[in-house]
Symmetry: C2
Subunit: 340 residues, 2 copies
Amino acid sequence: METARIGRQVIRLRHPPGVVSFASIGGRMESRGPLAGRFDELDEDPFFGQKTWEQGEAAMQSRVVRRALHKAGLAAPALDMVFSGDLLNQCIGSSFGLREFGIPFYGVYSACATMGSGLSLAAMLIDGGYARLAAAAASSHFCTAERQYRMPVPYGSQRAPTAQWTVTGAGCCILGERGNGPYITHVVCGRMVDMGITDASNMGAAMAPAACDTLSALFRETGTRPADYDLIVTGDLGQLGRNVVAELLERDGFPVGISYTDCGLLIYDRERQDMHAGGSGAGCSASVLCGHLLQGMREGLWQRIVFAPTGALLSPTSTFQGESIPSICHAVVFSNRKES
Amino acid sequence: METARIGRQVIRLRHPPGVVSFASIGGRMESRGPLAGRFDELDEDPFFGQKTWEQGEAAMQSRVVRRALHKAGLAAPALDMVFSGDLLNQCIGSSFGLREFGIPFYGVYSACATMGSGLSLAAMLIDGGYARLAAAAASSHFCTAERQYRMPVPYGSQRAPTAQWTVTGAGCCILGERGNGPYITHVVCGRMVDMGITDASNMGAAMAPAACDTLSALFRETGTRPADYDLIVTGDLGQLGRNVVAELLERDGFPVGISYTDCGLLIYDRERQDMHAGGSGAGCSASVLCGHLLQGMREGLWQRIVFAPTGALLSPTSTFQGESIPSICHAVVFSNRKES
């Protein structure tokens, strides 16, 4: 059979699936950031109407999938599959958020690269005829992440200058064999990269080599250059990680210019909002993609973008045990042209 | 394009991928159970040569993938993708276990149904030409699970009669477009089912309705009956859950006889080993499949089996917050004949 793989990591989709619908939801900090106008829904209530933050995160996932369906005039049974994940232990934001829908469900976990892996799998399975319509979703929540990964929120602990701020947000993208676009033309399957970094409050730097590995693979295996894309956007590397990626890519022979940015830099005004190195979390790239980026492509701001969220595959337990931080980056190429 | 879906949940693979290799690893309790002779490797050391139990679980995943590769005379670069998951927070058994391999990696999380979802995704992606060789792996570890989900192990807490024993084990199955078989002919994508059960020490009963939902979908959408399969095997429902599934399936018009069993019942001698309701954990179904079941098929014990592991998509946090237990079951059909 003709293979869709064009190298170790890149897959060229033969019938590029198109975006059918997308939606994003954010919280209070996101409503004060520069992308506020790009969210479908902003909620000042960190509980999102529920009793706990975790239930609030699940409610975000539920609402964002419902809204993406609604915008396309679809009901849940129209979806053949949903891929979803989040940062909570055992991914309860996704399971509790989506349990009511009755949609065939694959839970995915790639930390903050989750939206990249969900989109990749959904796109390949639609391309291959295993699903007609499939959704990818991801979320994160500042309060659930802080208490799970760092400190009880009421402590108000001082944060390192390299630290990032976990986005309270979720995004959902519905892909289909007959979507209006943009289209996913290529998938780049990430590999784990671990450069021995152990500082869990400088995750941008820990994840940068994974972003470089995946982006280099894309350029190398497709024979393209950074300039062939109007925008290259990583997920939540923040300012430090973004600069490390730019440096590593230059060393690999793929210098990126101002067309390279990071969702964690777009979502907040770092100075005015005191966000240190920028935003982070699985909901950071998911909500920026399913608002600002896909809307921008439909408006013609960009014709072709690389969406390359990165994930740090650590846990508090691995950090306590002195382990370094394996990272991964799962990327997809979105294009306004259906040809791959 | 011709679709491979034959209903809401069932996908018929057009070019059924074959099993290229498989391997399993177990710990002390597994070495004293009736399937001891079916493991590739049994280790009395709960640390598997590492300093912590979590590192030990990662070492199991690393060893089991290495061994499956070795048995097929393959090296890691031969694998186009690996799908893996485990029960540890942020799935660190998989990420730390597989970080050295450099294989394109998708992390999956479906609790104890993880092996089912990994095999499903690997099989579809090989069938569609997105990978030539792909592996699915999963693990669990009694000590890491006890301290994360229940009580510090040294407490020696008394266990409820409905409780199960988390298997210390891992399994890896390598699938390929040219595998020798058995072949995966069908994939059944699970949906979340939540019947409102809140007792986290009776997970077999909580998960049974999900198993019934997936198995009923298989029979209904393919027009087959339980008797068309030589063996139907769930993952870790234990004695109570197994009986609930049999009852629910009978009510759905699909009575199963003695050909229905559960990996959690096979792996231990419940009486002699004092295992209460049976074995559990993502490593239970993974190690039983990648030892006893696939070996048995190759020996001709069974020609066609349904492998249907179930997962309880809860966390200690959701239980503390009074939530019920959403469950899921991801199934695949293995057959010694390549036709689907």
